[in-house]
């Protein structure tokens, strides 16, 4: 009998452009990996806990979001899914939710106008308002310089405590905002979940950013979905057990067929991670 308690979630992410699923390395150099509805059903059968669709062209080209794709997905899926990309105003969120999305994910538009979070949360509830944050670590100083400054009591907090910048517009714009402070503000406005992507790790397959994830997962009262850098099962075990992520999102390792969701979850289970099998 499985141990009672909430499972850690595994969320395959389908980056969508022009009705096809793609996955970029740091959001450029796209490779076509298939039809989103087909892929979604495949992941559902494999035991995905949830799915995330990101329309990665929406922000760039000012396109509407893929409402008809969402309708098709909703007909077939028996598990929850979120849709993001190009959600700029409440009306965008409404169309996606009415088409069958369970949650919408917002990013740049919320940075530009944080009230959007409150509007979505008030209209549809916090549970369907996911705030996506693309976080990039602030410049790390060379070791020698670091030691030197560490001895300076005034500068010490900035050196010892890592900080992350919020990036917007697909990573092209550095806002200068502190990512954790932004997340706290978003939660106060009604964000029900944080989708946290490490810009430093995204597309690198070198493991999740544990320091970043832990800072958010332990610093926020809402669930945190770790994203960026997914590798093998060890990277997931680490992000759950060392960084306390509530969920982990990945794309390439699933799209490439390197790991099926169920094989990954079986591995996680043998390492003591509570997952739905």
């Amino acid at each position: 009998m499985p141990a009672p308690g909430l499972c850690r979630r595994i969320i395959p992410c389908l980056d969508v452009a022009d009705g096809r699923t793609v996955k970029g390395v740091q959001f450029t150099g796209l490779r076509d990996v298939g039809d989103p509805v087909e892929l979604a059903c495949r992941y559902q059968e494999q035991g995905a806990d949830e799915l995330m669709f990101l329309d990665i062209t929406a922000t760039h080209e000012n396109r509407g979001t893929l409402v008809s794709m969402v309708e098709k997905v909703a007909e077939r899926l028996m598990i929850p899914f979120s849709v993001g990309g190009g959600v700029r105003v409440l009306e965008d969120a409404r169309r996606l939710l009415e088409a069958g999305a369970d949650k919408v994910s917002i990013n740049s538009a919320a940075v530009a106008r944080p009230e959007l979070i409150r509007e979505i949360a008030e209209a549809y509830g916090s549970q369907c308002c996911v705030l996506a944050i693309d976080a990039k670590r602030k410049e790390i100083m060379a070791d020698a310089k670091r030691k030197e400054i560490t001895t300076d009591a005034k500068r010490k907090p900035n050196v010892d405590k890592p900080e992350w910048d919020v990036l917007t517009r697909g990573g092209r714009n550095a806002t200068g905002m502190d990512a954790l402070e932004w997340a706290k503000q978003a939660v106060a406005l009604g964000a029900g979940e944080i989708l946290l992507t490490s810009w430093d790790k995204d597309g690198t397959r070198s493991g999740f950013d544990l320091e970043l994830t832990k800072a958010f997962a332990t610093g926020l009262p809402v669930p945190v979905i770790a994203s960026g850098g997914a590798k093998g099962p060890d990277s997931f075990v680490d992000v759950f057990q060392k960084a306390y992520a509530d969920a982990a999102l990945a794309a390439s390792i699933f799209h490439d067929g390197e790991w099926t969701v169920d094989a990954l979850k079986k591995e996680l289970s043998t390492h003591g991670v509570t997952v739905r099998l």
Binding site: L6, D49, M78, G125, S126, T218, P221, V222, P223
Partner: protein, 211 residues
């Protein structure tokens, strides 16, 4: 056991995500009426997500508050999902001044977060949790254990322990589903809980023949 015609009224009270239950009913081959004026004879589903206070406000505005209570008291089968479970009780910590439908004794309470360790209990609870039938009676009735999808900050604390159909654990043990006479209600989302969750709606409908 002969299966009754798969026909239900789905109450359209302005809550969120009614579409997902309708698509689920489509997949299961139900015929349904989405309505603000349930006929009172057809088995009734109250689905959806929302805040307790605003949902009760909507029900009052639609003159459904007394109507629903009357329908349930007349013995018509009722299936509540998520907020459709919570409104059955006397009230909720989410909106302490607002009265619920007062069909089941007890109140709806909030999960306790652990402020020193946010990583332990996040609110809302979002994700898959294990539900276990709470008594021999429900086990015998064929309610299987399994993983289902929750999105909730609040959960019911029924006074009548015998009405607890499923229990789950999130920091503490809580009632994940209740069944009392013609009323069945799930705190989780069967329509979003894969094949297992979807089968629970069929299961509910099959048991109606027994009442």
């Amino acid at each position: 056991m002969s299966s009754p015609a798969k026909k239900v009224d789905v109450v359209d009270y302005g809550g969120g995500n009614i579409g997902s239950i309708l698509r689920c009913l489509d997949r299961l081959g139900f015929s349904y009426r989405l309505t603000k004026t349930p006929d009172g004879k057809t088995p009734l589903i109250l689905p959806g997500v929302g805040a307790f206070g605003s949902i009760m406000g909507n029900l009052a505005k639609l003159e459904l508050k007394d109507r629903l209570r009357d329908i349930v008291k007349s013995g018509t089968p009722y299936l509540g999902i998520c907020i459709g479970l919570q409104v059955l009780f006397e009230g909720s910590e989410e909106a302490p001044a607002v009265e619920g439908l007062n069909i089941l004794p007890g109140r709806v309470v909030k999960f306790k977060s652990s402020p020193d360790n946010h990583s332990a209990i996040k609110i809302p609870q979002i994700g898959w949790n294990w539900v276990q039938s709470a008594s021999e009676k429900f086990k015998k009735d064929g309610w299987r254990n399994g993983y289902v999808y929750f999105v909730n900050s609040y959960y019911p604390a029924p006074e009548n322990e015998a009405s607890v159909l499923y229990r789950a654990a999130y920091g503490e043990s809580f009632a994940a589903a209740v069944q009392h006479e013609n009323v069945t209600a799930f705190q989780f989302h069967p329509e979003k809980s894969g094949a297992f969750g979807q089968s629970m709606i069929d299961k509910w409908h099959e048991t109606l023949a027994l009442h």
